[in-house]
Amino acid sequence: MANQTATLRSFSRPVPGDELRRPPCEVACPIRTDAQRYIQLVAEGRSAEALAVVRKTNPLPQVIGRICPHPCEDACRRGQVDEPIAICNLKRVASDGAKAAELGFKPPKAAFTTGKKVVIIGSGPSGLAAAHDLALMGVQPVVFEKQPEAGGFLRSGILSYRLPKNILDEDIDYIRGMGVEIKTGVRVGEDVDFSDLAQEFDAVLIAVGLSESRSLPVPGAGLPQVLLAVPYLEAVNAGRPVPELGKEIIVIGGGNVAIDVARSARRLTGGKVTMVCLEADYEMPAHSWEIEDATAEGIGIICSQGPNAIIGEDRVEGLQVKKCESVFDGQGRFAPKFCETELSLISGDTVIIAIGQMSNLAFLPDTGPDINERGILIFDREQCTTTRRGVFAGGEVVTGPGAAVNALASGKRAAIAIAHYLGVAVDFPEEPVAIGEVPAAVAEKVKPAPRRKMPARPAGGRLQDFNEVELGLTEVEARCEASRCLLCTAGARYSQLKCIACLTCVRVCPYGAPWADKDGLGGISPERCQACGICFTQCPAKAIDLTLLSENDIEREIGVALANESGDVEFGCWYSQSRVEPEAGLVLLPCTGRLSAGLILNAFEQGAGKVYVAVCSESEDGHFIHGHRQARAAVAEAQKAIEEAGLGPESIEVRLEPELKCKKI
């Protein structure tokens, strides 16, 4: 019934090993977050379970849900249809929703079964990630932090309008709650000796990050109104006054830190803030959305200019700049070229230098681990080891500057290396391979749905304080956004053993995903599959099941739904977010088009008094092509079956969705 097609398609055999491939969002994520799964749970309104999925790989879910540059979204296949899913925002929805429901914040108590202890120097993202993962592997971590509070650069470098301090505290408290000890205000090398620690603990992890700002070797750099980004941000974040700040501030640098410096200065002073960077506008290392936010807040950006000298006798009066003709050489290395004659002056009373950071490794003893001639820790990227046995490293101290999520990944890898070193039977995870792009013919068939925009405070108001700018998606909007997910690799799975090569799936799939060759061998292309479930409902040999919400899963959900007092079941739809029979127990499906008559009969076998099936209007396809037709066909078949079996046909009722919230733009 679904797709009356009299002509077979021409089949193309996809790359073997489809069943092993993963959604590109997950592959693009440095910590391999199963984004799709938590997005699905958000779509169902199950925030706490969504958060649990995030927590599986992410020790700082709330933090990352706010500040991640989300490489997953760049990889998201929905972007090949219209715009990528707002994956990062949905992560925040998962944690915000779970928090509102008072769920998902009780940490599991770690059992340190190995009896081994690891000292972790630094409580930034890499140190925390390593501590979190080691605790779960039965190794006891002790974290040393030189600052009075844990968090590293997350606390000292990122401003609270982007990452509120209470959010950071909650994520750190969770890790503490697992049994991880964090000793703050302790400077290794001063308060405690590195070698003593190395002696006392079974292993050491150096995760000190990049805690020092680089300065500029230009005239005038020693003036009192010339500040460095890191100490400046530390002061701002700690709520200390910065008396040197004037009313006309020049920020040197074009990265994300420079943006934070500029935005905070604008908030603190209300004055004029101008960023100056070497790069042309399209080359700026800061994320485009950060640049947009800064511009919206009235910050000027002067591109392709290099600092030549800071002007002023005892006070800063301005910055002399020279034209930067190119930043990178032919090999893409940093090698700026200037036009020494093309000089200009930017007036200002304060200069903040935000051109990069470096680590401080002064605490390391001569006995190692060793440092190379450029002052960088000698490090094995693969094994996370240093030159000293038992001493490992992770995070930006070895990877260089990047996103917090990369530091998490590095810390997590170090945790595995350490655990393995300490005798725990673990190994690095296999690198997943992503499925390919959405074929154009399939993209055309995907129901259009615009990406939901993150609501933010108006630029005027937000400059008055350091409160969070982004407000979080509402539940309805979040579920709509989550519903846009193409469910990469979560669709049909086919068993070659059970397949009878009948071609039913090939004929009914609206997206042309199943294929077969002349020998009856076949498969289901994960690139084309949209997880609508029609093939699953029609396969006569039961050779197809769905990865997400398999037949067994649905049967189990029916059982759960029937625990409801009414004894009735509603098969509902994710995408509508509405109920056709609020009294009935709910089994939520992506689309009721994935209902087979057998599943409806199963509800009666499990004791359902009445079954309600939500469907959308016949006049228009809902989320999936033919979904409502398939649902109606399954209902008609089940209705006939139960009528023949002696039950009243009214035991099954099809009801139109009262409201399709996700159809609204």
Binding site: A6, C502, P540, A541, G598, A641, I642, A645, G646, L647
Partner: protein, 222 residues
Amino acid sequence: MITAERKEFDEIRQMTDPHENVLVAGCNTCVAVCLTGGEKEAEQLAQQLRIARNHDGIKGKVEAVTVLRQCENEYLDSISEQVERADIVLSTACSIGPQGLVFRYPAKRVAPAMNTNMMGYVKEHHVWTEYCAACGSCLIAATGGICPVARCAKTLLNGPCGGSQNGRCEISPEVPCAWQEIYDRLAALGDLDTLKRIVGPKKWNLSNSGGPRTMKKEGFEP
């Protein structure tokens, strides 16, 4: 392939209600491909029987099991445990299935859940068309590759009767006239002279009219 349709549920009830434990035996070949008696349909029939028998207070268990082909001994042997447990085996295969079960399990009651109807071609999804009547002497070389024995309502061998109208058979506007198809095809191939030859009478003794047939692979007799 062979096509079969499920019998009315009432008839299935009449056959199975007197028995306590029922095994619905599915067949994952022809009847699965024609979407009427494979694993999915067998399980669904078992579900339906359980609901009905539960509703009417009939004791006993209804199980379902499916083999790849019910027309082969070895496959039928593979479900001996389930068959032994049952008081009656209800086969959703073509009629060969239940008869195979009878051959293999002589002491067991067996009932057909299906009406076997034809050997057909899947012209489009969900539509099977009778293409072969197993007449035992294929003559389609003379009829443009289209079988009038299976596809003409009167099994005519010498051209369309007077009831052929607008390409449709006199019995129903739903049914195409095989002889119109044969004519069109031979005309397109430039082979209309073929139709001037008188064909037949047909040797019906080679069909089922000659009695039940047996086929043996030559050179393999014991």
